[in-house]
Structure formats: C-alpha cells, structure tokens
Amino acid sequence: MKKIVILGAGTSGTMMANHLVNKLPKKEWKLTIIDQYKTHYYQPGFLFLPFDIYTTKQVKKKGAKFIPKGVDYINEKIDLIVPDENKINLENGKSLIYDVLIIATGTKIAPEEIEGMNGPEWHKSIFDFYTYEGAKALRNKLREWEGGKLVVHITEMPIKCPVAPLEFAFLADSFFRNKGMRDKVEITFVTPLGGAFTKPKATKALHYLLEEKDIKEVTDFNIERVDYENNKIIDYGDTEVDYDLLVTVPTNMGDEVIERSGMGDDLNFVPTHKGTLQTLEHQNIFAIGDATNLPASKAGSVAHFEAEILTDNIMRYIQGEELKDEFDGHANCFIETGNGKALLIDFNYTHEPVEGTFPFPGVGPLSLLKESRANHMGKMAFRWIYWNMLIKGVHIPFVSATMSKKGKHIEEVQ
C-alpha cells in the first residue's frame, strides 16, 4: 500500500482528507492525518468570543467528527519531518513512512518574539485573541473592564486573517456603545503598515469607517518592546503608545516542527510554488493553507480554494501527470464592521479588492467593498458553512477556486 500523510488536521488538513478520501483508489492508497489536538477550533469565531457574541461551545468541536471514515487519524505531536527518508517522527517515538506528504500545520502566535509581551502581564492587561485561551481570557476581562485606553495592535506582517484586528476594533466600538460606556473608552489602532487598510482601493473605500467610529490610527509602528510596568508599547523609532488594555496580534510563525526539520523561511513558512502548491525543495511534498510562504492572505477561504486545486494536483502527481499551475491567490473575506453590518472583499495575487456583487454578477446578494446587513448575515452563516460544508470538502455552490471577474470593477495591482 502506498501512503499519503497529512500533517495538521486544521481547516486545510481536514478539507484535504475529505477531498482525497473519495478520489484515491482505496486498494492502493492509505490516507493518514496527524494533529496534536483532539479539538478542532473554529478560529474565525475567536473574533466574536471576546464580545460574548459566540459561546465557547460554538467555536470548538471534536476533531474526529470531521475526519471521514477510512482515514487514519492520529492524535500526536509531530516531532520531525525527514524528507530525505520520506519519514515523519512523532513525539511518542513512533515514525511513519510516506510516499506523498501534505504539510498543513498552519501558523500560530509567537508573543515571545517581542520583549515584555509574554511577561507577567500576559492575559492580565495584554491579550491576544488568536488563540482559544487568549480569546476566552479577553472575554472575561471585557465583561468587567471599566474603560480606559484600548490599544488594538499588530506586531508584524504577515498575520493570518489580516483584517481581523481591524474587525476587532470595529466590534469593540459597537460593544462599548451597547454597554453605554463608549465615552469611557479610547480606541487606538496601531499597525506596522502605512494604514489600517493596505491596498489603496480598500483604503479609499473604507477609511471613513475609522472616522465614523472614532478610532484613532497610529501607522508605521514597528514595535520593539512592551514596557508592561508603565503600560506602553514602544517602537524602534522611539514612538510610544500608552494603553490600559493592550489587544495585540503577536508575530505569526509556522510551527517549530518546520524549523526543526530545516524546511522553513525566517518565519518557519514553507517555500511553496504559487500556482501548483508543490514545495520548492521536494517533489513529493505539498503544502497548503497558513503553513505556506505564498503571498496570498492566510485565511480559511484561501485554503478552501487551494484545497480544490491541490486535490487535483495530488491526483495528477500520483498518476505521473503534469501539475496544474492554477492557483491565483484568490481570497474572499467578510469584514465585520460592527452594528450588525459587514463588508465583503474579493481579491487575488494580481487584483486589488474589487467593488461589485458576489457571487452572482450584478445581482449579489452580497456587495463587495460596501457595508451591508446581508454581508453580516453572510459572515454569521459562514460558521455553519464552515462546520457543515467547508471542512467536509462539500463544494460551496457558485463559488469558484479562481477569481471570477464578472460583475466586478477590476483594477490590476501594479
């Protein structure tokens, strides 16, 4: 029997297991998937958990529920990939041999990269919301917080779901308004980028939101350290921003297993071919989702589009056919803007977020780059779609892996 091994049973790995199990000839191929956790987290829900919009139950389920029959599911930490021997070592001392490997180990926060971040104030006055633990601790804090300076901060790019911090700031504005204490809270958005939105088109269309919600912006801020004794963050240019409550997105890095195996770049992301998803170093190793170094957004929607193309390419690879160089960086994100509204953006490697309607040209119902209630409903429905369709590899009707230009106002990125 030949073997395909998938590393990581998050969004990407689970989707790949579901896609491949139906396609691989069962007599010849065995499919194995490995993850350190028994729980599958709905990470997009971590944005809503701090505001008591979602409960803890809505954002986690048993991973085994989503792994199809016929797939070997191993709950163990992966210790090492040995590409020269086609071998995986697990932390429990066991090892596995593969013919084809799919790396789907995602990305995680590394607060230890910044002095003072991960210190005694971690999860006391300094929080992340990119982990289940962080989002839950922040929820408890926000339930009783009496106001002051709230700083929403991005440490360095790239981060997964790059719009999440901004959405957090928007939701915080609504949250404090609804609690009748918005006047007691000053919200500042601090980013290493030149603006809250980085693509010129989105900046033009969306900057009004910050003004409307009275969110201050500090840009080009490259953090050097957190001075947790004096409640401020300090950048390399000696700019300081005071906080009472710091909500930061720490540096995002690939898992240490990638570093240990000598397979990653500076941030432990795996160099991967932009169009085929084959790793650049090894022909029989593919990578998908947040674990790759692709210049696409690190988002579940991107992983979803990648999964369709990667499934085809794995089938082609095992049949000795040429790979399809087809992935175009397609991303499609809802941006929650608070007050029950949201925006939808759609873009790829070469095209900026566009205005128009989605998925039906000219009809919608979702409008791109414009705030609407329908978009918010879309974002909320996404949780259901995620658990019931997306990770199970059910094709989502009318949404294609590569970006459609119909019904959109397209502009090339220079």
Binding site: E156, M157, P158, P162, V163, P192, L193, G194, F197, T198, K199, A202, D220, N222, E224, Y236, G237, D266, L267, P295, A296, S297, A331, I345, F347, P353, Q414
Partner: protein
C-alpha cells in the same frame, strides 16, 4: 509620471517611487535622499546594496529581515532613515515600496 532629478528625467509613481530601475544611478540616489532630508554616508550605501541584493533575489524586505541582515541593526536603520526606514530606503534605492498582503 515624469520627474527631473540630477538633470535626468526619470519615471515615478504618484508616491515618488521610481518605476524603472534601469534609470537608477548613484547621482539620482543622492538627490532622492536629499529630498528625504538624508545625506548619504558609507553606511547608507551598504544598506542600499543590501536592499538591491534582496530585490534582485526577489526576496521581500522586512524589519525582521534587517535584523538578520548582518549589515545593520534595526535601531541604526531607524537612525539612518528616520521616519519610515523601509519606505524611505526603498524609495531612495529606486525599487517599489514594500508591499504587504491586505
């Protein structure tokens, strides 16, 4: 857009970044630096070389990359190109402003 600098005509975008690297020369570089209030020193040139090397190798520039560059540390980078060091140094080096996905 066209711009005349160091008695030469160059092509730039709305933000003043050169759009054709082949037009870049050391003289133009010095003038661009001056416009940013920077007087080029040996250390500045070392950084410009490093940036060109990265750019030619299609590697993205980042603050983290500077930390590991072996050329300078981040504090020095800030003092050489005060304000936005990545934005300013790339502008002076004649290459596009570092992009980041949205």
């Amino acid at each position: 857009m066209k711009k005349v600098i160091a008695q030469t005509e160059i092509n730039v975008n709305e933000e003043g970044y050169m759009t054709e690297f082949s037009q870049w020369t050391k003289e133009i570089c010095e003038c661009l630096a001056e416009e940013q209030g920077i007087c080029m020193t040996e250390k500045h040139w070392e950084v410009i070389d490093y940036i060109h090397e990265k750019h030619n190798g299609n590697e993205a520039l980042s603050i983290r990359g500077i930390k590991k560059s072996g050329v300078i540390n981040i504090k020095e980078f800030y003092s050489l190109f005060p304000g936005g060091p990545l934005k300013k140094s790339t502008l002076i080096a004649g290459i596009p402003k570092p992009k980041s996905c949205i």
